[in-house]
């Protein structure tokens, strides 16, 4: 039986990180993945990640994936693709399907990083072609370059629903609505806001009643629900859509861990393994890292992977106690930074009343996906000053601080923990470089000059849709809710390497719309 110091199951963010960490300490590592390409879900994450520098914040998932693969390759990790692990037996014996045979391997340590699979909803018509998981839609468009549909209804307002919803807009689909049975949006407000300002409505406290169609989806009916999740008759609303994306959560793919005899604990309707802070399960030498040990962001999965890879190295004698301790502390502190704030695993399901600064969280944002215009000035990133200045519409405690590092003039400060709301220091002089706008993974930073001197204001927005408008193009400025405000002329479209594919579009509007115009649409008002 072929033996490795460490066998990793799954070549996603957690698995590749685990493999590289272990290989860097001298372990011989094999990674098995069932897919034809490595990277797990990373290569379809075309958006910029949150976090701070140590978490690879403001890098796009695709770039992070490429970096992880390079690292693994450089360190001599053997990655086996098209190799589904079909069994995990006593003494860390791993059964892998490869070609026309099942191969037995033995790992002195085994790290299970199998990720998660999508939850689904059963409703009338859910088996029609055109109903799919949001992750499936994301794979279709971002990996296989196939449009999932032209008109989409998104079920679920968690980060998966919001991120995939925006990416569908980027791919050229129309998003009819985002629907969630919960009374409040589950994902980051900034993700919701970038959808809302394009004019997509949110229907909270609503559920799907049925998908319509004979041999494919041609429509959908939703309805409002009461506190007990029962449909309120008479509240039905119909949409003409060809695709219904379901983003109602993920379930950890724990089958191998269960089979290996790892002790599990309940997690919603499913189970997750009981692990220590190294990710080790109740079975000696068997670790769980990433979503398989509980659903979190990929940024957390990568650190969990490294922790497990490090611990496996320690257990097998590849690293001394001192080096082990120091590296572990470093990794744990990085993980702690991510597991803080309103969206941390420990705060899941709790109502968001106020930020850690004591500011009220916008109910309008939670219910509709956008800040009410009257609320914006209550946050420390939004101030009205003469001349060009950033407007940071970041109102929830999310672990993220690239804006602070991006500003060469020291205008933006994320003080203390990285979940703190960014503060705009009005005493600093904004040079208008736009690096903060492009660095914000939530696309929540704008540059505004409220008075150009002729009664007009200039608003610069992050713009990630194609085609980019030409300078001089006349369109419509939209408010935070997506409502049309006024005609707006594009005065500049800037895209430099440092912006990493986020174009900065500047348009002019009458000064009274300076603090409300937040999107531009290539349509002239009737």
């Amino acid at each position: 039986m072929k033996r490795y110091d460490l066998i990793v199951v799954g070549a996603g963010p957690a698995g590749l990180s685990a493999a590289s960490e272990a290989a860097s300490l001298g372990l011989g590592v094999a990674v098995f993945d069932e897919n034809a390409k490595p990277g797990g879900q990373l290569f379809k994450q075309i958006h910029k990640f949150f976090g701070s520098k140590e978490h690879k914040a403001k890098m796009r998932g695709t770039a992070i994936g490429a970096e992880l693969l390079d690292e693994a390759q450089r360190l001599g990790v053997e990655v086996f693709l098209n190799s589904p692990v079909v069994g995990l037996y006593d003494n860390r014996e791993v059964l892998v399907r490869q070609g026309d045979a099942v191969q037995h391997y033995k790992g002195d340590g085994v790290i299970v990083a199998t990720g998660a699979n999508e939850n689904i909803l059963a409703f009338e018509g859910w088996t029609l072609p055109g109903v799919m998981g949001a992750g499936a839609a994301q794979t279709m468009m971002n990996i296989n370059r196939v449009m999932p549909g032209k008109n989409i209804l998104m079920l679920g307002s968690g980060n998966v629903g919001l991120v995939v919803g925006f990416q569908l807009l980027q791919a050229g689909s129309k998003l009819a609505a985002v629907v969630d049975a919960a009374p409040y949006i589950g994902g980051y407000g900034v993700h919701a806001a970038k959808i809302a300002r394009t004019g997509v409505p949110f229907f909270l406290s609503h559920t799907i009643v049925k998908a319509e169609g004979i041999d494919r989806v041609t429509g959908a009916v939703i309805a409002q629900v009461d506190e007990k999740w029962n449909v309120i008759p008479g509240t039905e609303k119909s949409f003409e859509v060809d695709t219904i994306c379901v983003a109602v959560g993920l379930s950890s793919s724990v089958e191998l861990l269960k089979m290996a005899g790892c002790e599990m604990k309940k997690d919603g309707l499913g189970v997750i393994p009981i692990i220590d802070d190294d990710g080790e399960t109740s079975v000696w030498g068997v670790f769980a890292a990433g979503d398989v040990s509980g659903i979190e962001e990929a940024s957390a999965a990568m650190i969990e992977g490294r922790l497990s890879g490090l611990a496996a190295a320690g257990k097998l004698g590849f690293v001394g106690p001192e080096a082990l301790k120091n590296r572990k502390e470093e990794l744990l502190s990085a993980l702690e930074g991510l597991r803080d704030g309103m969206f941390a695993p420990k705060n899941r399901g709790k109502s968001q009343d106020s930020t850690s600064e004591g500011l009220p969280v916008s109910k309008c944002l939670l219910a509709n996906g956008f800040l009410d215009d009257s609320e914006t000035f209550s946050y420390p990133g939004v101030k009205s000053v003469p001349g060009l200045h950033p407007v940071i519409e970041c109102t929830q405690n999310i672990p993220c601080n690239p804006c602070q590092d991006a500003c060469p003039k020291g205008c933006i400060k994320v003080e203390g923990k990285i979940i703190a709301l960014p503060v705009f220091d009005e005493k600093s002089k904004c040079s208008g470089c736009g690096l903060c706008v492009a660095s914000c993974s939530g696309q929540a930073i704008f540059l505004v000059n409220e008075d150009l001197g002729d009664g007009k204001a200039a608003v610069t927005i992050p713009y990630e849709l194609l085609p980019l408008p030409a300078k001089g193009a006349v369109g419509t400025a939209l408010g935070r809710s997506g409502a049309p405000l006024c005609p707006a002329v594009v005065t500049e479209v800037k895209l430099i390497g440092a912006f990493d594919h986020t174009a900065l579009m500047t348009f002019t509007v009458p000064s009274k719309f300076a603090m409300t115009a937040r999107f531009w649409k290539n349509e002239v008002p009737a």
């Binding site: 399907r97 045979a101 099942v102 939850n119 059963a122």
Partner: protein, 105 residues
């Protein structure tokens, strides 16, 4: 709350959405699952053995939670209290000729 095998859960009452397919791989409907519960299958494991829901191509990755929720509602018990199906090799569909072709022993 524990599950009492001898408790009388009453007879199966047809519901309008009984023809909803829950397990797509094995084409098992909600009505069949509800009926199975009334016949004494009280968890995902037992229902799977009787109806094969969760034994198809996806191995229950899609329907297991749906099945669990239906059983729980039928028994009026919290879903997390119900036993899951056992996890067994092979974890992915493997043709018998491949499964029998063991290498590296």
């Amino acid at each position: 709350m524990t599950l009492e095998r001898n408790r009388d859960f009453g007879d199966y009452v047809p519901a309008p959405d009984d023809d909803l397919v829950i397990c797509r791989c094995e084409e098992v409907t909600k009505g069949e699952i509800r009926q199975a519960v009334r016949d004494g299958m009280f968890n995902v494991h037992e229902v799977r053995r009787l109806l094969r829901c969760g034994m198809g191509l996806c191995q229950g990755r899609t329907c297991a939670k749906l099945v669990k929720a239906i059983i729980a509602r039928e028994l009026n018990l919290p879903a997390p209290s119900l036993l899951d199906a056992t996890a067994r090799a092979p974890m992915r569909p493997v043709e018998m000729k491949v499964f029998a072709n063991e290498k590296g022993l």
